[in-house]
Amino acid sequence: MKNAYILAILFAFAVLSVQAQKSNWEVPADKAERLSPATFTPENVKSGETIYNANCVSCHGNPGQKNFVPLNPEPGDPADAKFSMNLDGELLYKIQEGRGAMPSFKATLSTSQVWDVIAFIRTFHKDYAQEVAAEVIRSGLSGGKVAIQLVYNEAKHTIDALVTEVKPEEVKAISGADVKLFAKRYFGEAAIDEVKATNNDGKVSFSAPSDLPGDTAGNIELILKLVDEEAFGEVAQSAVLPVGKPTITHSLIEKRAMWGTVQKAPLWILFMYSGGVLAAWSVIFFIFFQLRQIYMAGKKDEETGVVREEI
């Protein structure tokens, strides 16, 4: 009996700790320690407020007014301790990545826009004192610029990229850098394959998405991005390559259909309608003609003087 008791308590603890863990949003240490490269200015705060009102207010409400939407889990008020306890880097990570009901803003807002939002939120945190990143170290570079070459290897059906650092005196391969490949679509960029790292020669190879529709020749505009913005800045290179499926688009109103315009009406209905109208109205006009015949017959009798007895 006693054992059962203890088991029950243990069980309860286990459940609670799982739940606690669930509500605890762990941020990887290196990300948590990130700092803004510049001191927050009133301009940053103002821009952050605009962005906040456009993207965040519908769930989190206005900071300090606790008018967030009562969801489960609670989105919370950004002025509260739950938020102020976070490091700048933690806030950055959470806004960018999202979790559950909290959408990811990675593709919507640039890093500097997210910093602006953090600048705005921090104005509600009384004891906050900003720490600025000592120096922006482009750790991956040694004074040069990133250059990316994208080529399509038809034989292996891969998209090969060469990532180098170009300096006036030399061109050096960038190795071990995470890169991501995207295909340009009408409203955004669709990721192709996983994040991959460049090898010692600065090369990386993605399998070509042969089933992804391109233009009539299969051309797709591809974009290669370096993932580590801290190390390389925002670097992207695009190229149009024939990696996709050649696609001939068809208009949705090519065929004749009941819902089409008159020009696109099914032939049978055009014939039936016009045939019916023509048949009925030619008979009606024939009758009008007959009425005229009656009149003409009477007129002829009148003229030729055929006298009839009055009826």
């Binding site: 489960n72 009901a101 990675k106 295909a183 955004g188 529709p213 208009s251 949705l252 315009t261």
Partner: protein, 345 residues
């Protein structure tokens, strides 16, 4: 016209003629899109060539004379009514718009509804898109369902329209022309999704437009043609936005055809705070989430999440897909919204 081509002409006059011809051809292609006017020129003047001397642009005015205009003086006007109608009926070539609605993420924030109503000048109870509380059976969970026009590939509404006021475009959008509509409401009767609404009375900001009309007359009267033209462009009926709305005509969701032309996603899609909507081009096999702007493969999204369409048994073939309300992010306030007999009333 290139420099080489220019050399072929012996005199400036011939060159002018040729450019004029060239220009007319271009006009034919763009269908007489009236695009520009400068402060000194009457609206309706047409550009001929974007090149020309630095800071100047060559254009043809209403008297068909070739003139040059300083670039700084150029104002781009909205395309006029005829052009709006033409391109609105034609649609975007090579596109097949498609919407995906993830029911697991909807919490009835109704931001989509509000954004739509504000863009299309609708009252709070006039819907192009509405979020419905749904429940399929007594033992199943209730969920929220945003419901725009389904833009069917076999549209029953369009089949019954007597005057081609509602029609399907090559990019799949079912549009409504309220300059054409006679208000018979057959399309409302035919639509199985209750996606259409009617202007039973003067629409929401009718008075504002009446005021603009008067202002326009006034400006014309005083010969302020430029201001008048600018105002006219503002009050001209835009078939892709269906604004201004008109009494006695139908209105409905347009997939924000005006935004798509600019490369932007529909009003409702962009307004959602919860990542419910995806929008994209089926020809590209890609849809983009309106909230996170993340772009994913349409086929994979539908395959992985058991995407479905509303009332498939009717064979309407909607261009709107739903992802089932599985693992919903938000709880429904009530356990069940069905009355005792288990039917929606």
């Amino acid at each position: 016209m290139s420099e080489d081509q220019k050399k072929k002409f012996t005199s400036d006059e011939e060159y002018q003629k040729a450019t004029r011809r060239d220009f007319m051809k271009k006009l034919g292609i763009i269908g007489g899109a009236a695009v520009a006017g400068s402060a000194a020129l009457v609206a309706g003047m047409k550009f001929e060539d974007k090149k020309g001397k630095d800071g100047y642009i060559r254009a043809v005015n209403d008297d068909n004379e070739l003139i040059t205009v300083p670039k700084s003086e150029i104002k781009y006007l909205k395309p006029d009514f005829t052009e709006l109608q033409r391109r609105g009926r034609e649609g975007l070539k090579g596109r097949k718009w498609v919407m995906v609605i993830n029911l697991a993420k909807c919490r009835n924030a109704r931001k989509c509804v509000e954004a739509c109503q504000s863009a299309h000048h609708l009252r709070p109870y006039e819907y192009h898109i509405n979020t419905l509380k749904m429940q399929d059976g007594k033992e199943t969970a209730p969920y929220y369902m945003p419901k725009p026009c389904q833009h069917c590939d076999n549209p029953p509404c369009t089949a019954v329209c007597p005057v081609n006021a509602t029609f399907k475009r090559q990019d799949g959008i079912v549009l409504i022309d309220n300059e054409r509509c006679i208000g018979c409401r057959f399309c409302i009767a035919a639509c199985p999704y209750s996606a259409r609404m009617f202007h039973w009375e003067q629409p929401k900001n009718h008075e504002e437009y009446m005021h603009h009309e008067e202002e326009y007359e006034e400006l014309m009267h005083h010969g302020k043609i430029n201001e008048a033209a600018e105002l006219k462009a503002k009050i001209d009926y835009d078939i892709e936005l269906n604004v201004p709305q008109k009494k006695g005509t139908i209105s409905k969701c347009l997939f924000s055809a005006d935004r798509l032309r600019e490369g932007k996603m529909p009003y409702c899609v962009s307004a959602c705070p919860n990542g419910v909507f995806y929008f994209g081009d089926e020809n590209e096999d890609a849809v983009t989430n309106g909230t996170t702007k993340e772009t994913v493969r349409l086929s994979k999204l539908l395959r992985d999440n058991a995407g479905y369409r509303l009332l498939p048994e009717l064979g309407t073939q909607p261009r709107v897909y739903y992802l089932p309300p599985k693992n919903r992010l938000f709880d429904f306030p009530e356990e069940s919204i069905l009355p005792e007999d288990g039917h929606h009333s």
